[in-house]
Symmetry: C2
Subunit: 299 residues, 2 copies
C-alpha cells in the first residue's frame, strides 16, 4: 500500500480513536459526522472529500471538530514555488482537530497532521499540536510539552527544541505581540526517511490523548465564575484573530475554495471583543498575558 494511503488510513483511525475518547469524557454530547465531497470552484480538476466530525454544547466541550480530509488538484503557482517544484497534480490528506471547552479552566487544543504527495513522486509530512489556556497552570504546560518532547527525542534527538521553536514562531498573533497559547510542536516539509517519518507522525497522533486528556481531567471539575468566563471569551477573540488573519492553512483553504464550514469549524462557539480590555496588574489574567508575550521553556 502506498505511503499516502497508509497515512490516510492512520488519520482515519486517529479520528475514530480521538473522537470516541472525547465523547466518552464529555458524557453528554456526541460527535455528528458530515461526509462531504467538494470541488474547488477555482480548479475544476480538483477532487475533495472528507468526514467532518463536530461536537457542540457538551458538558465539557462547548464546541469541537475532528476532521479528516482528502483533497487533490493542481498545485497553485504559489505553492509550487514554495515547494521549489513544477506545478503538478497533488494529493493531500490530513486530520485536523480543534477543541473549545466550556470551562475557562480547561485549555483549547489544536492538532493537525498531514501528508502531501506530488504526482512526480516527492512527498512531505507536516503537522503539530499546541495548547491555548485561558488561565495558566504550569503543571499543565509542563505535562503537554513533556509528552511531545519524549516523542520527538525518541524520533530524532534535538528535534523537540526545533519543533517547539517553530510552534512559538508560527502561532504568533503579530498585531498583538502575543503567542496564541503556550505552544507545543510544529513541523513541516519533512521529506527524508518517509517510513521513519510516518512512524513519528503516528506517535504524535497517538500521543494526543496522552497530552491532552490528563489536563481535561484535572481542570474540568474546577469551579469558575462569570469574570473568568468573560476573560475566556475575550481570549477566544485572539484565537479568531490568529486563525483569520495569520493562519496559512485557513487562508489557503478559503482562497482555494475549500469547504468553508470544515475550515472554520476551528472558530470558537462564543467570542467577545471589548475595546482595549487589559487585565489588572498582578492578576491571573495578567500572568497569562506575560507568558504569551515571552514564550517559556517548559521542560
Amino acid at each position: 500500500m502506498s505511503l499516502h494511503r497508509r497515512a490516510r488510513d492512520l488519520f482515519a483511525e486517529l479520528q475514530e480513536a480521538i473522537s470516541s475518547r472525547l465523547e466518552e469524557i464529555d458524557g453528554v454530547a456526541s460527535f455528528k459526522e458530515d461526509s462531504w465531497q467538494h470541488v474547488s470552484p477555482h480548479d475544476p480538476d480538483s477532487t475533495g472529500g472528507g468526514r467532518t466530525r463536530t461536537i457542540e454544547r457538551g458538558r465539557i466541550f462547548e464546541k469541537g471538530g475532528v476532521n479528516l480530509a482528502e483533497v487533490g488538484g493542481r498545485l497553485t503557482e504559489r505553492l509550487a514555488a514554495r515547494l521549489e517544484v513544477e506545478a503538478q497534480r497533488f494529493e493531500a490528506t490530513g486530520i485536523s482537530l480543534v477543541i473549545h471547552p466550556l470551562s475557562p479552566m480547561v485549555p483549547t487544543v489544536h492538532m493537525n497532521l498531514r501528508h502531501l504527495q506530488l504526482e512526480g513522486g516527492r512527498s512531505w509530512f507536516g503537522g503539530g499540536a499546541d495548547l491555548t489556556p485561558y488561565y495558566l497552570h504550569e503543571e499543565d504546560a509542563v505535562h503537554f510539552h513533556r509528552v511531545w518532547k519524549e516523542i520527538c527525542e525518541a524520533h530524532a534527538p534535538g528535534s523537540y527544541a526545533r519543533y517547539k521553536k517553530a510552534c512559538d514562531d508560527y502561532f504568533r498573533v503579530k498585531h498583538r505581540g502575543e503567542a496564541r497559547g503556550i505552544g507545543g510542536i510544529f513541523f513541516d516539509y519533512l521529506e527524508d526517511d518517509p517510513e521513519g517519518t510516518l512512524g513519528f507522525v503516528e506517535r504524535v497522533g497517538r500521543g494526543f490523548l496522552e497530552a491532552y486528556v490528563p489536563i481535561v481531567e484535572r481542570r474540568a471539575g474546577e469551579r469558575w465564575w462569570d469574570h473568568e468566563r468573560n476573560w475566556q471569551l475575550v481570549r477566544r477573540g485572539r484565537y479568531v484573530e490568529f486563525n483569520l488573519v495569520h493562519d496559512r492553512g485557513t487562508l489557503f483553504g478559503l482562497e482555494t475554495g475549500g469547504r468553508t464550514e470544515s475550515i472554520l469549524m476551528s472558530l470558537p462557539p462564543l467570542v467577545r471583543w471589548d475595546y482595549d480590555r487589559k487585565p489588572a496588574a498582578g492578576s491571573r489574567e495578567a500572568d497569562l498575558v506575560a507568558v504569551l508575550r515571552e514564550p517559556r521553556d517548559w521542560v
Copy 2:
C-alpha cells in the same frame, strides 16, 4: 488652509456631531475618548495620532466606535505601486465608524471617509457607508440607499450606480458567497476637482445621521426573542470574517503596525460560530441570506 487640513477639520467636526447624536439617542451609555499617539514599528519616520471614541453596553448601542485618525509616513512599495507613483511621504486623515446595536432588529452600520495627501502634491479622497441588517426590513434598505442616491446624484449624475456597485463588490464575504450586508456606497481614489469632492465628502458625512437615525428610531422599540439574538450573533461572525479576512483597510492597518485597538474596535461585542448553521427554508433568516447572495437595486 490646505485641503488636507480642511478635510481633517471636517472629519473632527463629524466625529463630534455623530457621536453626540448617537449618545443622545442611546440615553444611557456615553462615548469615552482615547487620544493616542502612535509610531509604526515598521516605519520609524511615521507619525500617528488620533482620537478613538467608543461606546459600550448602551441601551441601544451594544458597542460602537467613531474614530478620527491622522497618520503620516512613507508609502510602502505596494501602496505606491497601486497609486502608480514613486514611494514618498504621505499624510492621511480619516473618520471611521462602526456601530453594533444590541437589538437584532437594528442594523449595524459602517462609514469611513478619508483623504490621502502625497508630498509630491497629488491627493485622493475615498470612503463610503454601508448597512448590515440581521433581519431584512425593505423600507430601511430603501431609505438608506435613497439618502446616498440623492447626495451622489446631486454631486455627479450616474455616480450613485457606480458607487453602489463598488460597495456590493467590495463588501463581499467571498468564501461564503454572500455580501456583508445590503450595501450602500463605496468610492476611492477620487482625485479630480478636489474642492468639489471635498464638498461631496462633506455631504456624505452630514448625510450619515439622516441615513441611519430614522432606521434606529423605527426598529429600536421592536421586541425580539432569544432565537433572533442568536441569529444576530451568528451573522456578526460573518462581519468578523469579512473584516479579518478580506477588508483591505483592516489588514493594511494591522500589517503596517497601526494601533490595533483602534483598528479592531470595528469587531462586534459578542459573536457566535455554530457549525454549519443554516436558516430554515421560508424563514425570515433565509430571506436575509437570499438578499445577501444576490444584491438588489433598492431605489
